[in-house]
Symmetry: C2
Subunit: 334 residues, 2 copies
Amino acid sequence: MTDSKLAQALFAATDAEFRDAAAHIAADAVRTPLLPFPAGNGRSIRLKCENLQPLGSFKIRAGASAVAMFGEGPPAAVATASAGNFAQGLTLAARRRGMAVTVHAPETAARVKVAAMEALGARVVEHPFERWWEILSTRDTGADDGAFVHPVAERGVVLGNGTIGLELAEDWPDLDTLVVPFGGGGLVSGIALALRVLGVPARIIACEAETSTPLAAAFAAGHPVRVERKPSFVDGIGSNSVLEEMWPLLRELVDDVIVVSVAEIRTAVRALATQSHVVAEGAGAAALAAALSPTCGGHNVAAVISGGNIDAARLAEILSETEGGQATSPGRPT
Amino acid sequence: MTDSKLAQALFAATDAEFRDAAAHIAADAVRTPLLPFPAGNGRSIRLKCENLQPLGSFKIRAGASAVAMFGEGPPAAVATASAGNFAQGLTLAARRRGMAVTVHAPETAARVKVAAMEALGARVVEHPFERWWEILSTRDTGADDGAFVHPVAERGVVLGNGTIGLELAEDWPDLDTLVVPFGGGGLVSGIALALRVLGVPARIIACEAETSTPLAAAFAAGHPVRVERKPSFVDGIGSNSVLEEMWPLLRELVDDVIVVSVAEIRTAVRALATQSHVVAEGAGAAALAAALSPTCGGHNVAAVISGGNIDAARLAEILSETEGGQATSPGRPT
């Protein structure tokens, strides 16, 4: 599907298409709660807890929806390029339907995610980050390993993500601001499209970690540009560039970008565990960090906590930090 | 209210009374999700996540419901005896309605809970455990500090807890086994009564930590008896005896008692964080530990994760343990 075809198809998506996607994923995904977060200062912040999904991420919606799009004549095998969460969702949904699954993953993927993909029945092939990005961009895995399902720029994926928007509109019609972590843009696009179709006029804010800001750079330049990506524990978002295929959607749907620091994300991971009693990975906590930042306006603010797949040791380390965000031992890794 | 009066009133409670309680607490409590837990072996285990309530515990239901029972002429001040979670719920609900609150707490209460009660506006008075238990048993605080609201043996409390049963019956009518942590019996009694009124014939299992087993001892003896209570991090449940007022309810409503080890509870805390992405305190995790134990039958098993107020340092320590439950450093505290 070319750049403009994807955007055109999605801008034309109807209420009924999102509801069909919701029906497709009902057996695989749960309807996640929207929990109040104690924000103070008169603002109301609520957490859309996608980290409570089976497999710990919203990607089960995307995976199940994408597999359902094959309809009556599904292929015997599928392949994808993913850092982990999407691959897990796709693998679970595809294996339930009898398909073989090959996952192309970057070597930077968290060990816990690679192990989880294999446990679900995927064959995992690891690549240096640059080569992995090439597969993601070209959809050419270099092998005959099945129908390629893109983790982001894929109609079924965006519609599946949009089911979050259906639930938000139902649970909080007065929502005025939505904060969504930006990885490839499939999540924010899907939710924004659904809210638009349903007539909920929320301001759409995408957030990025300071270690990788391709969306902020694309908005600054007026088109996708290449940025540096520094390593951090925030492995679920971040890349070297906005995908050309996604840019027409993002340019139109995203109202603002907030960049948060790794320290702010660590503080948000800690707040989510100690105050809201949920476990979030860095990408998942980024939305709360952005919602709490001084640059985020809005009175009724929903933050999408996109996933919870953080290494236990990393979470333990963050929980051992003092309130001020300082490590209790020297040499704190990022 | 005497022993038999409480039990009689509650055995006569109707569907409508539980639904009234649900209406009373709707502005204070959230409708918690029932999340699937990956159990394997053909059994289906789901988690009723009361740790996701405001204040991190089911007790907001009890507190709000108890305060609402005062009706049109509420007192200016209320007092209670609580280890923390109930006191927090009562304090939040009572302060919202303009009442002063005094909380009598045992010195063993977690620091995080004492700080939270004070932050909510309660005056906290700490006592040695024996003296605190005396207040709990006699309802005599030794001071003129307001209408006493019992955290367990109180009609409004049991009805408020019963709203969990309403939600379970709606979300999972095929539920056949319910596992609930036993602290004072208000939680298990409320849910069991609601399920009975609604005609859901689930087997009711109460669980206790090995460090304090007053309910198992009461069933063995045929009446409440005094047991030893050893200190552990499981501070939300455990006492020296079943309250005489609660025994008629418990004897009738509870089908079985499962005692779990502190090690099993630690493993469950870890599994909840790493697999379900929720933070549970020891008492909250005890229900999952019991549901996973070989002595727990049932195909459709709901475990009530009662609370999430665990010290961050304790959670970090448990997350740092290896899968087998061994500490990574010697001298593991319980």
